[in-house]
């Protein structure tokens, strides 16, 4: 009798636990606009406090306006370069292997300081690159963007695509000093107070990145046209393991100055490191420099 009642009890408890798991199994989704800290006036919100670097924004190099592109053969090439740059999916489709455009990282058509601006990069080439252990020209540098960041095929050095992008960079650098490091070049400089943790990064990602880039990091596609409204951060349509943005450091430096969009410099250095460590742990296309064996059994590059 005792044994029977015990089994009955056990059955009941199991049933209860089954109900429990069924209830908790459905994912609880918080509305994206509710996931933020609560202070009614934006002025005092902790996330609204910015720490702008010592150079004031007005002192960045200002490239020429689009309306001032000359009407000439050169101007046509510049316009083609700009088109390729902001709509790579259309104008350089055959060289691109994912869903990104150049301007997804080189923000605001390659003009934004601390987002790899072309006007600061172009006058610095040819330059030595640690990645290839060699001196590379600007054209070769652009080839690497296609190979790694766009997860595609590098256009040949004499291709119209490379010529057009180089022309666009050349035009954007009109009036910039030659071979001189400008403020806003590349990405922001970061401190690293402690080792980053992806656990904190996941939390921060879901709070301040996921509403645009998605919980799964797959970005968001347009409903009324092709392509991505918000670019994917990992997965098959994102940059591969060999890309600069795949290294935690570059990603953190980029995010610090530019993300969330329009609210640059609001993440702390450590938050940027944490978020990018979380992103780095996710799955993305292989590094094209290595074969399948190395890609599966060796750790991807850029882990710190």
């Amino acid at each position: 009798m005792k044994r029977l009642s015990f089994l009955l009890l056990l059955g009941l408890s199991q049933l209860a636990s089954a109900v429990d798991t069924a209830l908790t199994a459905s994912p609880v989704r918080i509305d994206s606009y509710d996931a933020r800290a609560s202070i009614p006036t934006g002025l005092t919100r902790e996330k609204a406090i910015r720490q702008i670097p010592a150079i004031s924004p007005g002192e960045y190099f200002v490239p020429p306006e689009v309306g001032d592109i000359p009407t000439s053969k050169y101007g046509d090439m510049v316009k083609l370069g700009r088109n390729i740059f902001i709509d790579t999916q259309h104008y350089a489709k055959r060289y691109v292997g994912n869903g990104l455009n150049c301007s997804n990282c080189h923000l605001q058509e390659g003009r934004k300081a601390y987002a790899g601006p072309l006007w600061a990069a172009y006058p610095m080439y040819p330059a030595f690159r640690n990645k290839t252990r060699d001196v590379v020209t600007f054209e070769e540098r652009v080839q690497d963007c296609f190979r790694f960041s766009m997860n595609g095929i590098a256009p040949t050095l004499d291709s119209p695509e490379i010529k057009a992008i180089t022309s666009y960079a050349h035009w954007l650098s009109t009036g910039a000093p030659f071979n001189k490091e400008l403020p806003g070049r590349g990405f922001a400089r970061l401190g690293k107070p402690r080792d980053p943790t992806p656990i904190n990064g996941e939390k921060l990602y879901k709070e301040s990145c996921a509403s645009c880039h998605g919980i799964e990091g797959a970005g968001q596609k347009f409903t009324n046209r092709d392509g991505y409204m918000f670019p994917p951060l990992w997965g098959k349509d994102s940059f591969n393991h060999g890309a600069g943005m795949s290294s935690v450091k570059s990603c953190a430096q980029f995010s610090k100055a530019n993300m969330p969009l329009g609210k640059g410099w609001t993440l702390t250095d450590m938050e940027a490191w944490d978020i990018c460590t979380y992103i780095w742990l996710q799955d993305r296309p292989w590094d094209p420099r290595f074969g399948w064996f190395f890609n599966i059994f060796a750790p991807p590059t850029g882990g710190n």
Binding site: E109, R111, N200
Partner: protein, 284 residues
């Protein structure tokens, strides 16, 4: 309470030990039974799902249309200001509602119905020190309700029930809309376009298109359309962000943008978006 590795909770360690005496057969049989029941329930639920939802949606649209056209008691009909087909009144700065995202309309009405806290009163945020409690987060944040104030709209929104708000949102999202471009000065349009497509890179001000979609048609429930909205309305809203009468944007993104816009920027970019052509197909 002890939580086993499989996630099933047991009331005591003793019970866990007793579990081991059980044969695996019993577990499997129970599992199979519950699986069959669950599958049956799913089939029943799925078969009736689609048409039911559609019917509810149609009913909501009809109820929303009725409320929008005739109003109820002290609630005036929406058509008085927002036009017979939700096209708005450009001259008065009343926004169009036709073809907007249902989630967006719903949120705005709820936010309009909230009281602004009295001046100088700040809701304290719970300190978020994730480094100390990295694994628990859902209960450490305090969510702030969005706030939006309008002298005309707020008193009306306060009288609407949750069902009313849903019905109206679904109704206006179901309407199609074709914008009539408003002519403007060439220089104004040129400057507006420059701001809309490129922002001000040297000041870290992002372009409008980077969130409001390439043609300003809006994206999802967080990013409303700019094209096809009266220019007066857009300028008014940016002013409200600057003055603290509107604070209900996703992540405070628009707040950060609005703080950087000059008066000329507002006029230029609003004129540019009023000048865009746009066709929106309503979502039934």
């Amino acid at each position: 309470m002890y939580v086993g590795e499989t996630g099933v909770s047991y009331s005591s360690i003793k019970e866990v030990k007793n579990m081991k005496f059980q044969t695996a057969n019993r577990d499997q049989a129970m599992f199979k039974k519950s699986l069959i029941v669950a599958l049956g329930a799913m089939v029943v639920a799925l078969s009736g799902c689609d048409s039911k939802e559609e019917k509810a949606n149609q009913a909501a649209i009809q109820a929303g249309q009725k409320l929008a056209e005739k109003g109820r008691d002290a609630i005036p009909g929406c058509v008085a200001c927002h036009g017979a087909h939700g096209e708005g009144i450009a001259a008065a700065g009343y926004p169009r509602l036709a073809g907007l995202n249902a989630g967006y309309i719903e949120k705005q009405l709820k936010d309009l119905a909230r009281e602004l806290p009295p001046a100088g009163v700040a809701i304290e945020a719970v300190a978020k020190d994730y480094s100390k409690t990295p694994r628990i987060y859902s209960d450490l944040t305090v969510f702030s309700p969005g706030l939006r104030h309008d002298d005309i709209m707020s008193p009306i929104a306060k009288q609407l029930s949750v069902a009313d708000i849903h019905n109206l949102a679904v109704y206006y999202a179901s309407l199609s809309y074709t914008a009539i471009p408003v002519a403007a000065d060439y220089q104004v349009l040129e400057r507006g376009q420059d701001l809309a497509l490129r922002g001000k890179a040297e000041y870290g001000l992002p372009a409008c298109v980077s969130c409001h979609a390439p043609d300003g048609e809006g994206f999802g429930a967080d990013f409303p359309p700019l094209a096809g909205q009266p220019s007066i309305y857009i300028v008014n809203q940016i002013n409200k962000w600057q003055q603290g009468q509107r604070d209900n944007d996703n992540l405070g993104l628009m707040k950060a943008v609005a703080d950087q816009l000059t008066d000329a920027d507002k006029l230029n970019v609003a004129a540019y978006y009023a000048n865009r052509s746009l066709t929106v197909k309503g979502q039934q």
